[in-house]
């Protein structure tokens, strides 16, 4: 009997269950993907050669991901409970014992968790197998050897973590149920939250909130002073500051709007009351969401910025992409196929102590230099995107011999001398060639450049002078960071938006009655829809605004690491807003589906 009832309850809200399942499956798929990539021995090994501390970064990422997963599972569960509470109330009214219901909750929650995490792991495995290698090779710049998407430790971690989370959630649900009366279960919470202005306490909250935020922003913009403690300081102050601000300003804003003439028309007043109705509940999630928005936006921005920065920095590091001594015909051929900006070959003769060059050749084709000097000043930073090159006169060259010495493939480097053509020819050593070239776009030609290195007998890239070597090393170094930023950013974004969605939908069941009443009073369906869209819009936009402000300040933290943390910031913001919009629209649709009355004249 109970089973039949339980099943009927599920059937009537199939759509919502589909959303819940989909969300959980995606979250566990993402988790598996991250685990299998980041904790994969093959990956760590390949990465560790190039960057120390990679492990630490990935561990940090895994912890963050676990935290957001925890938050996510919690909200998904409260949504589940909101769908089931009416049924549970019914069962209890029919005489089911509380312990029996408690058991039912635990079993249901665990079943959903198990099914979702198992399916999620399988899908995550599919993701990893299909896009993992591509993602990694793009980020790291190398193909990973022995990479296997099926990674047992990751499977175990994912499933065990989800089972534990769901066990906790089930126990919490069970406790929550035993504290609620049957009547409350059946009717849902209908206690109004009278919004009151407590000027003193609210003003205090605003002041404390602003002070905390200012402290957090200050710490983040002076990261060189606070060093490692920036992150904990920033997190604590900003989380608390955001909470206080929301708490104080939200009530105040709603009351202000309610008193205005604007609110007196249509359903506006109702919409505002809806918002203030579960005010305290929302303050928490809105603060959490705004922080998560900041984190994920920050992660994507930094991730993308790193990638751009690698190219820009390496391009600017040297005037030439590569310097090759005595390139073979094959190598030369490969060089000519590149999209070249410039190419020059100088003759040289090398003795045990000195290298001789022909002065006339340097007069014909002067050596170029970038003019960037580290540390970069802000003017130079702005020019990084499109570097210009200048010619070195012979005098300059003698004054700055390091400009040419840096381009000599041998180590240790030897001093050089510019001599006349006749002197050069008389030297009793075999003449060699030094070929220098520069491609238009390092990123675009990176595969062909790699072929050139191979054609030279595959020397270690750091022994090949020029921007390419820097590029390869930097890609390896920042690649892990970029991967983390991008991956975590998108994962966070998807999860925080669905947290908000679940939170809003959890309240929908109890809102249903209100929309039915409004319909009976004669509110136009279009007005009901507009009211819903507005209410949910506010809940989405408020944390977005706060989150964006946070991230704009938070990015200051990266100014020691990055040339320009705000470089091309529109890209992550666009990704964010598109994703966020999609979630907003889905939430509105689902909400409408739950609350809008069917009872209507069908003309």
């Amino acid at each position: 009997m109970l089973n039949k009832l339980a099943f009927a309850g599920v059937k009537s809200r199939l759509k919502d269950y589909v959303v819940l399942f989909f969300g959980l499956i995606m979250s566990s798929a993402i988790f598996y993907m991250f685990e299998s990539l980041a904790t994969n021995k093959a990956f760590i090994k390949a990465n560790a050669q190039q960057i120390t501390g990679a492990n630490f970064i990935f561990l940090f990422g895994a912890i963050l991901l676990t935290i957001i997963t925890l938050v996510y599972v919690f909200y998904a569960n409260s949504f589940l409970m909101s769908m089931r509470r009416h049924d549970y109330g019914l069962f209890m009214m029919l005489g089911a014992k509380q312990s029996k219901i408690g058991q039912l909750i635990l079993v249901e929650t665990m079943a959903i968790g198990t099914i979702a995490s198992v399916i999620g792991t399988i899908i995550g495995w599919g993701f990893t197998a299909s896009v993992g290698p591509f993602l990694m090779s793009r980020m790291i710049g190398n193909k990973l050897q022995h990479f296997n998407a099926f990674y047992v430790p990751a499977i175990v971690t994912t499933i065990v973590l989800y089972l534990i989370l769901f066990l906790i959630a089930g126990i919490i649900n069970r406790l929550a149920l035993t504290k609620t009366s049957v009547l409350q279960l059946l009717k849902g919470d209908s206690q109004p939250n009278r919004p009151v202005l407590k000027p003193v306490s609210q003003l205090l909250q605003v002041v404390v909130g602003v002070l905390l935020l200012m402290l957090g922003y200050y710490a983040m913009s002076h990261v060189e002073k606070f060093a490692l403690s920036t992150i904990p300081i920033g997190l604590v102050t900003i989380v608390l500051g955001t909470y206080f601000l929301f708490n104080a300003i939200f009530v105040w804003l709603i009351l202000l709007l309610k008193r205005s003439g604007w609110a007196s028309l249509g359903l506006r007043n109702f919409t505002l009351s809806q918002l203030s109705f579960r005010l305290h509940n929302y303050t928490k999630i809105l603060s959490v969401v705004s922080i998560l928005i900041a984190l994920s936006l920050g992660a994507i921005t930094v991730g993308i910025g790193m990638q751009k920065q690698v190219t820009a920095l390496s391009t600017a590091s040297e005037a030439y992409t590569m310097a090759i001594k005595n390139p073979s015909r094959h190598t030369n051929h490969l060089i000519d196929k590149l999209t070249l900006d410039t190419k020059v070959t100088y003759q040289q003769k090398e003795t045990s102590k000195i290298i001789y060059y022909r002065a006339d050749q340097f007069k014909d084709r002067p050596l170029e230099f970038t003019g960037f000097q580290s540390p970069l000043n802000s003017k130079q930073k702005n020019r990084l995107a499109s570097p210009t090159y200048q010619n070195l006169t012979s005098t300059q060259l003698t004054q700055h011999p390091e400009k040419l010495m840096a381009l000599q493939p041998n180590a240790p480097q030897k001093p050089f001398r510019l001599v006349s053509r006749t002197t050069f020819n008389k030297l009793p050593v075999h003449a060699q060639r030094l070929t220098l070239f520069r491609v238009k776009n390092l990123q675009a030609d990176k595969t062909d450049l790699k072929h050139i290195v191979t054609s030279m007998g595959n020397p270690a890239v750091d022994t090949v002078p020029g921007a390419y070597g820097t590029f390869v090393l930097a890609t390896a170094m920042f690649g892990g960071l970029e991967f983390m930023g991008f991956f975590l950013g998108i994962a966070f974004l998807a999860m925080l938006a669905s947290c908000l969605m679940f939170k809003i939908l959890s309240g929908a069941a109890t809102d249903k009655r209100r929309y039915e009443m409004l319909n009976k009073i004669g509110a136009r369906p279009s007005r009901l829809r507009a009211s819903i869209a507005r209410e949910i819009l506010v809940l989405f936009v408020l944390p977005a605004i706060v989150g964006v402000v946070h991230v704009l300040f938070g990015l200051l933290m990266f100014k020691v690491l990055m040339l320009n943390p705000y470089y091309q910031i529109w890209l992550p913001f666009t990704i964010f807003f598109v994703l966020y919009m999609i979630y907003y629209i889905i939430t509105v649709r689902l909400y409408e589906h739950i609350v809008l009355p069917k009872l209507r004249i069908d003309n």
């Binding site: 209908s190 206690q191 109004p192 009278r194 003439g261 007196s264 028309l265 249509g266 359903l267 506006r268 007043n269 109702f270 009351s273 809806q274 203030s276 109705f277 209100r514 009443m517 409004l518 319909n519 009976k520 009073i521 004669g522 509110a523 136009r524 369906p525 279009s526 007005r527 009872l599 209507r600 004249i601 069908d602 003309n603």
Partner: protein, 251 residues
């Protein structure tokens, strides 16, 4: 005396269930009129179709066939937003379970139909005050529905139903959830409003005492009007007795 009736119902049928599925005919041809100053009661056993009838009259549901005219407006001719607007302007409705929005104060609840018609706060204010005074709920306006008693809630609901000067007031067992004192208060008040302001009232009720406040009672049985009795010049006590008698023979 000939007047155009406020409500005129002709041969109303309502069948629940889609064709091909299990069908149930809840109304099987109902016709009656309500005049501009009448207080009409509708009685009948549970499941006889009272709520169905009222929902159709209040445009909350569509009839399968037949015609309803309220305030010279044929309901079937209303399209789209006109239906909701008609509901907001022309009909007042009070329900057994009050149907107050618990996230709005009583004042805001009463003012809601006015704001749905985009009447400014300035113009709405005196209207709300007037009706609140009439129903003696001025002191409750700033409270929330959860903070007042059932009888008080029903007064607020009545105020909300009346605030936009509807052409007719419908009540679906509005005294059903009230104790006898509160019920009496509400009925007295409805009576006064009907009498003083010429607001016609159509009241569905199970309770003979509530019915005795009406001037005329329609008895519905199996989806049809089975019988009709009028108060005429009788006292309410006599009418109450007549209702009890009719109910006795009716079932």
């Amino acid at each position: 005396m000939t007047m155009t009736p406020v409500v005129s119902v002709r041969d109303l049928h309502k069948t629940y269930g889609k064709t091909g599925q299990k069908q149930y005919e809840a109304l099987k041809g109902i016709s009656f009129d309500v005049e501009t100053d009448e207080f009409v009661g509708i009685m009948g056993a549970s499941g006889s179709g009272k709520t169905t009838l009222l929902n159709i009259l209040a445009t909350l549901d569509a009839p399968t066939s037949g015609e309803v005219e309220i305030n010279q407006q044929v309901l079937a001719n209303l399209k789209g937003n006109q239906i909701a607007d008609f509901r907001a302007k022309q009909v007042g409705f009070i329900f057994q379970d009050f149907n107050l929005l618990e996230n709005l104060t009583n004042y805001e609840n009463i003012a809601l139909p006015l704001s749905l018609q985009n009447i400014s706060r300035k113009k709405a204010q005196p209207e709300v005050q007037r009706i609140a005074k009439q129903l003696n709920i001025e002191s409750l306006l700033e409270k929330y529905p959860t903070e007042i008693s059932g009888g008080q809630k029903q007064r607020v609901a009545a105020a909300r139903a009346l605030v936009s000067h509807p052409a007719i007031l419908f009540g679906d067992e509005p005294t059903g959830a009230l104790d006898s004192n509160s019920a009496r208060d509400l009925l007295e008040m409805l009576n006064t409003i009907n009498h003083d302001q010429q607001v016609p009232i159509l009241l569905v009720t199970h309770d003979p005492f509530s019915a005795s406040y009406c001037q005329r009672i329609l008895f519905i049985k199996d989806g049809k009007i089975g019988q009709e009795i009028k108060k005429g010049t009788h006292t309410r006590q006599q009418f109450y007795q007549a209702i009890l008698d009719t109910l006795g023979t009716f079932d």
